[in-house]
């Protein structure tokens, strides 16, 4: 099942079944992406005529072509689990049944008015939706001041005001409700910055479910306040060496070890189908509200949407509603870390290549041997070597554009929004805000820009404080790296 979509006359070599593996299934999870003797995976894929080829998509698609591609992808999604050639269900056979059941439960609850009613009430009374669409007057004036008073109008979608402080809870709460409906009693999740961990722990407390959160030890150090919050909320927090990608692998492993009782709560739009689609659906409330609020406020649609991209959940949540509105520009901003030249960044769509990771075909940061490159960013939540397959698809059909922002630019953007609007954004969201510096000078007067302020930055105050201290320190220090120590790991993806 997992290899059906690949053409038969090549091979992506997989590790052979290991009967000694601790989970007893005989498979290492997730799959490792490997190049086949000089062929890159992506060029192998291009021989598959059933999906859109790379050559075809590289030619500038006419606008109606883009819409057609989107419609095709949507139509085939629930059947094949793919967005164009991305996505899929690259999992051991044992998990396929589980994922199919998840998919059918998900479909059921999406059409169940009772579930939808309960979810809406919970989003309203527990999470605090709808979140405002806030006109950032002073930020707007700031960018207009260098152009003689002309420039775009900047709005912030205030996902920072959600319970828990980020957009993550939209998905965590919905999936926890789904898990409960499926009769699961225990939830396991992986978290990077900790926001998904906090959201999941909160949702589980509310729904009286057991909760295990797995977090990389390096992340736990950098976002220790979130660890405390999870513990207060009654979750068990387990540490694994490394960062989010390692935590994800471990969480999936735990899930696989107890498929009957446990529910793996994906925090972002990666993983095997139906995880990316599910997360996107639950986050799409962001875009749905934005459309209505934009109509109320200025009687039209946004011209440009900007969101940070780690794995892609907040970006997809904002973009999805507008994906067929070709006059709405979609901009994702990834983490350039300390710079795009080395390996200390997390700019998957800018620098990655196609492969299979955590169950899905997507862009990922890998070296010439197919080993995962450990990503880096000061925005811990952006540190993921892969990216949502749906965003990979949108990049390929040129429906969305992707840029990057460095650690320093994000840290400066954090300080700017604090000073001008009294809002401290999460460092992740600060990457999107940082891009305004390059974007605004190019936009006509009065263009409507909506930035997804995906989280609040209380958790980052120490990081920003250290950065400012270094910045205001000796001049010679300016050339040194300004972020907290982080070792990049070339951990083999297992």
């Amino acid at each position: 099942m997992s290899l059906q979509t690949l053409s038969p006359h090549h091979s992506i070599s997989l590790p052979s079944p290991n009967p000694n593996h601790s989970n007893g299934l005989g498979f290492d999870w997730p799959l490792r992406s490997v190049r086949h003797e000089g062929f890159k995976v992506c060029s192998v894929m291009s021989r598959d005529t059933r999906t859109q080829t790379q050559t075809q998509t590289q030619t500038q698609a006419r606008k109606t072509d883009v819409l057609r591609l989107i419609d095709e992808a949507e139509e085939s999604l629930f059947r094949t689990g793919k967005f164009g050639r991305f996505g899929g269900i690259f999992v051991p056979e044992t998990l396929v049944t589980c994922l199919k059941m998840l998919l059918s439960e998900f479909n059921l609850c999406m059409h169940d008015p009772l579930f939808q009613g309960e979810l809406s009430a919970a989003l309203r009374d527990y999470v605090g939706r709808e979140t405002p669409l806030y006109f950032a007057q002073r930020l707007t004036d700031h960018y207009k001041s260098s152009r003689g008073g002309e420039g775009p109008d900047i709005y912030l979608k205030r996902e920072d005001l959600n319970h828990g402080g980020a957009h993550k809870i939209n998905n965590a709460l919905a999936q926890a409700m789904l898990a409960k409906r499926m009769g699961r009693r225990s939830v396991v999740a992986a978290t990077g910055a900790g926001q998904h961990g906090v959201a999941t722990a909160a949702a589980c407390a509310k729904l009286a479910m057991e909760c295990t959160i797995i977090m990389g030890n390096l992340d736990m150090e950098r976002q220790s306040s979130n660890v405390l919050l999870m513990k207060h909320l009654g979750a068990e927090v387990k540490s694994v060496p490394g960062t989010f990608k390692d935590a994800t692998s471990e969480a999936i492993r735990e899930w696989v070890g107890d498929l009957e009782r446990k529910y793996y709560l994906a925090g972002t739009a990666v993983g095997p189908h139906p995880c990316p689609a599910m997360v996107r659906e639950f986050q799409s409330i962001i875009g749905i509200e934005t459309r209505r609020q934009a109509m109320e406020k200025w009687g039209g649609k946004p011209d440009v949407l900007v969101a940070c991209v780690g794995s892609g959940s907040n970006a997809l949540g904002m973009f999805h509603e507008f994906v067929r509105d070709e006059d709405v520009r979609l901009i994702g901003v990834e983490a350039a870390g300390t710079g795009m030249d080395g390996e200390t960044h997390s700019a998957t769509l800018a620098k990655g290549e196609i492969g299979v990771y955590h169950g899905a075909m997507t862009y990922l940061l890998q070296d010439h041997e197919g080993q995962i490159i450990g990503p880096h960013s000061v925005g811990v939540g952006l540190e993921y070597p892969g990216v949502s397959p749906e965003l990979s698809f949108m990049r390929e059909i040129t429906r969305a554009e992707f840029h990057t922002a460095t650690d320093e630019e994000a840290l400066d953007a954090y300080a700017l929004l604090c000073r001008l609007e009294g809002i401290c954004p999460a460092l992740e969201a600060a990457h999107a805000l940082a891009h305004l510096g390059k974007l605004c000078p190019t936009l006509p007067d009065g263009a409507k820009v909506v930035v997804n302020c995906s989280g609040r930055g209380d958790k980052d105050i120490e990081t920003v404080s250290k950065y400012q201290q270094l910045k205001n320190g000796s001049v010679s220090d300016r050339n040194k790296s300004n972020h907290p120590t982080k070792t990049t790991s070339n951990v083999v993806n297992i």
């Binding site: 309203r124 009374d125 806030y134 205030r158 407390a205 509310k206 401290c424 400012q468």
Partner: protein, 462 residues
């Protein structure tokens, strides 16, 4: 702060009435029992007896003005300030009154409360908490939480800060000052000043600055100037004195954002008015949810602003019980608490007549609570009034009970409440067993507890 006589502040504090007149109070101050304006048990002044008689005739929340033209709630409240500040207070009151009927102002404020602060805050049915209070026969009250913790900056404080900043702008003031203890009010003030582009100076005791370094950094990041105060015990009281001194000196250009319903008139009324949106929303939401009014409203009391914010709408609804919960700290008998309305006596503090924690010589007793926001030796005059009228009841909760409640709400509902709010939540343990089946209890969840996780973890041994 020492609007009243210097003797009413702690023994080592500097006086503040005029900037040049500061003198050191010796460590063993002479007793001023006969002179002090604060009322001691042994010598009740004649004026208070007369006031008491007058009030007896009007023990009626409905007919009595809250406050009257002099800023009095019965015998409480008033304007006990140096002459220099009278003009500023009068100007402030006039400005407030005119803006209350100014539709443009109201519209602008409503827009900011909606898009910036994130109102309206939900009225959330706490299902698991309700379940927790169900008796063996399955009966028990229904507990709802008014989610002020979801506001921008995480507490109710911003409602007032935003409105006062807007008011200051209307008055043409470009400079804002405030004092802060743990930093929450400072952060809220710095936040709104950033939003409105106002100059912001926060006075903070040097000792507090050390303990709250991150909050200090946060305020500076928001563009505020944080001025350390080294005098006295270098804590909140001393920071308040400095703020007053600044205001007296710069009254033309400067607005003083007071964070609670305390202080001289018009502050108690103004701050209440800016928070009353909490109660107004609650009324509407209660009607939508169960077609009626709350039966009981519970809120924690430090200075009293979040409580007044939710009580005010319902003060004239006799069927609605109003319960305020203060901090009993280490216990009411330990001497280390902040239960002003339970253990305090009437006197003047920070420009208003109210209950306050004072010793026999009229010296302020240093309060204690695990939660910084409740750690205040006075209380808003309107609460003193409601207590005396019997319109509202006031209880107290220890540090330990509050911490238990902090843990309980976190585990049962996935909401981490502020330690201040936890005091109100702890009172539910005593209240709910006494309430008939289906009673609607609304608790003002005045703030989130992210700021308290480190404090709590030491106690809860996680």
């Amino acid at each position: 702060m020492a609007f009243a006589a210097a003797s009413s502040s702690a023994a080592t504090a500097r006086t503040s009435a005029q900037p040049d007149l500061a003198f050191r109070i010796p460590s063993n101050p002479p007793k001023f029992a006969k002179f002090t304006p604060s009322i001691s048990r042994r010598s009740p002044p004649i004026s208070c007896k007369m006031a008491a008689t007058a009030v007896d005739k009007e023990l009626d929340a409905e007919t009595l003005q809250r406050p009257d033209a002099f800023g009095r709630f019965g015998r409480f409240g008033g304007k006990y300030v140096p002459e220099t500040l009278m003009a500023a207070l009068t100007e402030l009151e006039a400005a407030f009154n005119s803006l209350a009927t100014d539709h443009e102002f109201q519209k602008e404020l409503d827009g900011i409360l909606k898009d910036y602060v994130g109102r309206e805050s939900p009225l959330y049915f706490a299902e698991r908490l309700t379940e927790h209070y169900k008796r063996h026969d399955g009966t028990g009250p229904h507990v709802y939480l008014k989610r002020e913790d979801l506001n921008h900056t995480g507490a109710h404080k911003i409602n007032n800060a935003v409105a006062q900043a807007l008011l200051a702008k209307r008055l043409g003031k470009k400079r804002i000052i405030a004092e802060t203890g743990a930093g929450q009010h400072g952060v809220a003030t710095a936040t709104v000043c950033a939003r409105f582009g106002l100059e912001c100076i926060i006075y903070m005791g040097a000792q507090d600055m050390e303990r709250q370094a991150l909050n200090v950094f946060r305020m500076r990041l928001l563009g505020a100037e944080v001025k350390p105060v080294h005098s006295g015990t270098a804590t909140l009281k001393d920071a308040t004195s400095e703020a007053i001194r600044d205001w007296v000196t710069n009254v033309e250009t400067t607005h003083y954002i007071l964070g609670s319903v305390a202080g001289p008139h018009p502050y108690p009324m103004m701050v209440r008015e800016f928070h009353k949106v909490i109660g107004q929303e609650t009324r509407k939401q209660a009607l939508e949810k169960w077609g009626g009014k709350p039966d009981v409203i519970v809120a924690c009391i430090g200075g009293g602003s979040n409580a007044m914010g939710i009580f005010h709408e319902f003060v004239e609804d006799e069927g609605v019980r109003l319960i305020g919960v203060e901090a009993a700290g280490l216990g009411l008998d330990s001497g280390k608490h902040a239960a002003t309305l339970t253990k305090g006596e009437i006197g003047v503090l920070h420009g208003a007549m109210s209950y306050l924690l004072q010793d026999e010589d009229g010296q302020i007793i240093e309060p204690h609570s695990i939660s910084a926001g409740l750690d205040y030796p006075g209380v808003g005059p309107e609460h003193s009034f409601l207590k005396d009228l019997g319109r509202a009841e006031y209880h107290s909760i220890t540090d330990e009970e509050a911490l238990e409640a902090f843990k309980r709400l976190s585990r049962l509902e996935g909401i981490i409440p502020a330690l201040e709010t936890s005091h109100a939540l702890a009172y539910l343990e005593k209240l709910c067993p006494t309430l008939p089946d289906g009673t609607k209890v609304v608790l003002n969840c005045s703030g989130r507890g992210d700021k308290d996780v480190n404090t709590a973890i030491n106690y809860l041994k996680l």
